[in-house]
Subunit: 198 residues, 2 copies
DNA sequence: TATTTCACGAAATAGTTCTCTCGTCAATAG
DNA sequence: CTATTGACGAGAGAACTATTTCGTGAAATA
């Protein structure tokens, strides 16, 4: 019953490695089959551990999604509210800023559209996914706001944000046009939208 | 072993009634929870019938989805290729035709966007859903084609069809603007898009 | 070395889902 | 009335899933 100091540095390494394997297996399975469709046993098998181990590390689906989300976040690098100003630094004309906005969105959606679709599928059943998607939306809106100037009428900002949504990007992407023309079209649409909202 | 003529009129009525109850229960559950998330037992319970009965009527998920789809089809009244010309009969100017197109799409998506979302969720796992959605897309494209004239450049048609997609409609609908203004905006976007594709 | 701690996974429990078999019973026909 | 048909549902069986318990063994400490 004596109080000992257990540091367990070496053991902690093994612990972290196991955790990492679980997170990676989860990410892969969620990517392949969706979040709700993935079971603990599948995760355990793919990670090469017992089901109980998965439970010990992540007692709830939410905690698993959260850890997995941190992993995915690095891959996607979603736009963040606080970074929005830096994105448009030094760009004077409206045209330049719109082009920058589209380039930024295109790059982001190129990295993350698949994951966004996966998260959207189960956002109603998994609060963590919903929270994540809200954050992404907020980041996109901040980009739009910064691009056209915070003083713009609210209706204009909202309309452009709607057009900046990943669902619109996805629909246009299906056209399979060259990247440069794709971005030109997006810029044109946003430009036009800002006139429509007036 | 004699050959008898069994007409079974009265019995067939009961059979059809049971079938109808199953289809209705299925539609309700698919609407509430999605297709893949709905089990045979749930359907049986809601229909007030044994699970085996559901199986006898619909041995595969596909056949169930198909029957359910016929039911939903009447509710949605999706645009059909062959009806496209009639929709624009007597409309001369381009503006009029675009307005008609938007009105048609808005009404259709108003009726069917929820179902389209449900079908889209599981289209990868259920071929029948995929086929249904392809048909809908074809109908929308036919509408667009008819609205701006079959002679228009393919790039223009494709771009406008992409903007006529339900995902774009949904994104704009989230803005919660008045119906008249909503349609005005859609028309403006499509009009602008036709210029961009040139 | 002796003792304590704790991550791990096999296995148990409990609850679902899918799918089929089979006996029942009302409708049909002679 | 008697024989036949076929729709129905209880329930069986196999395959999963979620979740926990517990013994083992390696690591940490003294």
């Amino acid at each position: 019953m004596a109080e000992r100091k257990y540091l367990m540095r070496k053991r902690a390494e093994g612990f972290d490695a196991t955790r990492e394997r679980i997170v990676e297996a989860t990410a892969a399975l969620h990517y392949e089959q969706g979040v709700a469709a993935t079971s603990y046993v599948q995760i355990a098998e793919r990670a090469g551990v017992g089901a109980a181990t998965v439970y010990r590390h992540f007692p709830t689906l939410g905690s698993l999604v959260l850890a997995c989300g941190a992993h995915v976040n690095e891959e996607m690098q979603p736009p963040l509210r606080e970074n929005a100003p830096a994105v448009f630094a030094g760009l004077g004309t409206r045209q330049q800023r719109l082009e920058r906005l589209v380039a930024e969105l295109d790059a982001f959606y190129g990295r993350g559209a698949a994951w966004l679709g996966i998260a959207a599928r189960d956002r109603d059943n998994v609060p963590e996914l919903d929270a994540f998607l809200r954050q992404v939306d907020a980041g996109v809106e901040a980009l739009v706001r910064e691009a056209i100037g915070a003083g713009s009428p609210e209706a204009e900002i909202r309309l452009m944000t709607a057009l900046a949504d990943v669902s619109v990007w996805r629909s246009l992407k299906r056209l399979n046009v060259a990247p440069a023309e794709f971005r030109r079209t997006m810029v044109g649409l946003l430009d036009c939208a800002s006139g429509l909202a007036a």
